[in-house]
């Protein structure tokens, strides 16, 4: 440790020299000796001491006490007074400067050193305390939760920065005010004014939590607050010492919850709407296709029975029935490809890729996959995801090529679908859902049903890639 630096202020040279000797012997560093206010200030400008020994009667207009006041203000230095004066008024004045000690002239050598040591120790401890208090205050001030401390007489002791922000009040203007007068709370459900928050929360007991309340802002706005607690602090004699309140502004949280609800609702209505659309499509197909063909058959029965050209009528009728059968097959294939039941997913996807498509060139590749661990539900979901992606690639991305890859991992199956279309903004896809584009949501829902993981990357230059990882039946994959 470096030596403690001392400034001696004493206009009696003999005493000053004597002091300097004593202190130097005790291994202190004397940075200077001053006889007046001006000299003190000159020395401190060059080098700041750790402690000042100050005579009260010094040369010049300002005495030692006035000098000490200035030193404390400017440098926050601990002062020890050297004095022979003992009149009450002087002592009172000296007290006001919070000195670290008094040394009565004449003094003993040991006396000086002991007093100095004590002063230095006290100063160090106080400094540390002040520092930790400042750190603590800074921490409390910076937390995002509002924190309010109320005294035992229910006046406000302290509110932190967040509490100021949320309430629209400042510590300066409400410190010492009655808490219930400064802060107005409303019941969350009824919006009724809570007259006595302490009774409302029964603060005689231990800590109370609350989920939601309104805090009345000076502007008249009702700020929703939540995640709150009210904690009474008792002393040894079980008397109320203070009350600590914490809470958060939950405006944003409520907004997010609301949005989430909307998305859920849209999702649900998308499902219902999707089902309705599908029903309408099937109805149309049966009516326009199968229905018309069956009508034609009925119309042809009579000509067959009565007509002279029976052979011709029979051929027509057979053709019509054949058409009706084909139509039935086509409709049922659309509803659920029979293949999914009888073949593995790779075969089904390959066949999907091979279906004639004028707008999109689809390729399919597969590595070894544990087909016996992919049940019918997974097959249907994977197939539908591929179908949806193909439809998106054509309709929205205007892609030319699309590649489907199927790869088996130890415990899971990875399907990668990549197109070279013009991509979309992945981050914004929830907005798209609200606009009525359900395709991607549908894919995500299917992946969720399979306990899988989905990654979607899209950009204008490279197109879109959808990676779906699905656990084999009877296994789980670790979510990243």
């Amino acid at each position: 440790m470096s030596r403690v630096k001392i400034l001696i202020v004493e206009d009696a040279q003999l005493i000053a020299v004597h002091l300097q000797k004593i202190l130097q012997n005790a291994n202190y560093e004397i940075i200077g000796r001053a006889v007046s206010y001006d000299e003190v200030m000159d020395i401190c400008k060059k080098k700041v001491p750790d402690i000042v020994l100050m005579d009260i009667m010094i040369e010049g207009e300002k005495d030692g006490i006035e000098t000490a006041i200035e030193l404390k203000e400017k440098y926050d230095l601990p002062i020890i007074y050297l004095t022979a004066l003992t009149d009450g008024i002087t002592i009172e004045r000296a007290k006001m400067t919070n000195p670290y000690g008094y040394l009565m002239k004449p003094f003993q050598e040991e006396q000086v050193v002991t007093l100095l040591e004590m002063a230095i120790h006290k100063f160090t401890v106080e400094n540390k305390l002040r520092e930790s208090e400042e750190k603590f205050k800074a921490a409390v001030a910076s937390i995002s939760e509002a924190l309010i401390v109320v005294n035992e007489d229910f006046t406000i002791n302290y509110i932190n920065k967040s509490a100021e922000d949320i309430s629209g009040l400042s510590l300066e203007e409400i410190e010492g005010h009655i808490f219930t007068e400064a802060f107005q709370f409303l019941d969350y459900a009824t919006h009724e004014h809570i007259v006595n928050i302490w009774k409302y929360f029964n603060i005689d007991k231990k800590e109370q939590k609350f989920d939601s309340l309104y805090l009345l802002h000076p502007s008249g706005k009702k700020v929703p607050i939540g995640d709150g607690s009210i904690t009474p602090v008792f002393d040894d004699k079980k008397l109320l010492k203070s009350i600590v309140l914490t809470f958060k502004d939950i405006t944003q949280k409520l907004k997010n919850d609301q949005k989430l609800k909307e998305i859920e609702k849209t999702k649900l209505s998308a499902i219902i709407e999707g089902q309705e659309m599908e029903r309408a499509r099937i109805a149309r197909e049966i009516h326009d296709g199968l229905g018309q063909t069956l009508n034609a058959i009925k119309l042809n029965i009579n000509p067959l029975l009565n007509a002279p050209d029976k052979a011709r009528a029979e051929v027509d009728l057979k053709n019509l029935i054949g058409e009706a059968i084909m139509e039935t097959g086509r409709i049922s294939e659309n509803l659920l490809p029979s293949k999914l039941k009888d073949f593995d997913i790779a075969t089904c996807l390959l066949s999907l890729a091979n279906q004639k498509n004028d707008k999109l060139n689809i390729s399919f590749e597969s590595t070894e996959v544990k087909h016996d661990q992919i049940g019918i539900n997974k097959k249907i979901n994977l197939y539908r995801i591929a179908q949806e992606s193909i439809s998106n690639a054509i309709k929205h991305a205007e892609a030319k090529n699309l590649n489907i890859q199927l790869r088996g991992e130890n415990k899971s199956l990875v399907m990668t679908i990549e197109d070279d279309g013009h991509g979309f903004d992945v981050a914004n896809r929830k907005e798209k859902l609200l606009e009525g584009h359900h395709g991607l949501q549908n894919i995500e829902d299917r992946v969720q049903i399979m306990n899988g993981i989905i990654d979607i990357e899209s950009n204008a230059n490279l197109g879109t890639v959808i990676i779906v990882e699905v656990p084999y039946d009877g296994t789980k994959i670790a979510k990243v």
Partner: protein, 216 residues
């Protein structure tokens, strides 16, 4: 083949069985025609009766016709099998051929069953008109594809992008950062490429890329 033919019709719809039966009776009035409406029944009849021909539907309530055919053939049952199905789809046809059945008829062309049984009785295979079209179409498509595309490994644009950085020895995280995609996606691309190139580790991968000149 014995003088009186033993035929088993397997279909869960009695109307279809009746229809086929009425067609067969005209041509083979003396034939013994047995009927089964499930896979289980069919297998048990095939064991107990000495059957010459089995007409087998694919879509049955308990198991599919292909599984039944597979099991019969594995048991070395001497009966000839002809599939009778709604499915006019090449994958079904090719699977059945692979299993080793003797014929495939579309239900839409059910009247051809008579010709089919005649062929089977002579020891020949029989495929109905629509099935023959399917096979020919598939074959020409394949030939055309082989003409245009040889057996080469094709990497997608993204895979090429990723592999460029892999060759430079970058980690998935570094690549992810450069391409603004997640490390998981990079890993998926990397795994896909490795499986496509049939290599097990990154060194072999880099060698293979250089060997095939995939980035050239």
């Amino acid at each position: 083949m014995s003088s009186v033919m033993n035929i088993l019709l397997v279909d869960d719809h009695s109307l279809i069985r009746d229809g086929i039966k009425s067609l067969l009776i005209v041509k083979y009035p003396k034939a013994n025609i047995h009927e089964a409406k499930s896979g289980k029944e069919a297998l048990s009849l095939a064991q107990s009766k000495k059957l010459d021909i089995i007409v087998l539907d694919i879509s049955l309530p308990d198991m599919n016709g292909m599984q039944i055919a597979e099991s019969l053939i594995a048991d070395k049952n001497p009966a000839k099998i002809v599939m009778l199905s709604m499915y006019s789809d090449y994958d079904y046809v090719s699977s059945c051929i692979e299993i080793g059945v003797n014929g495939y008829i579309l239900k839409n062309e059910g009247h051809e069953i008579v010709d089919a049984i005649e062929s089977l009785a002579e020891g020949k295979a029989y495929y109905s008109t629509g099935v023959r079209d399917l096979i020919v179409n598939q074959y020409t498509q394949k030939v055309r594809k082989q003409d245009t595309a040889q057996e080469v490994v094709v990497l997608t644009n993204r895979e090429k992008e990723v592999i460029k950085h892999v060759v430079e020895g970058k980690t998935s995280h570094e690549i992810a950062e450069m391409l603004f995609i997640s490390a998981r996606t990079v890993d998926t691309h990397r795994s896909n490429i490795m499986k496509k190139l049939k290599v097990k580790n990154s060194i072999a991968l880099i060698n293979k890329i250089n060997e095939l000149d995939l980035l050239g």
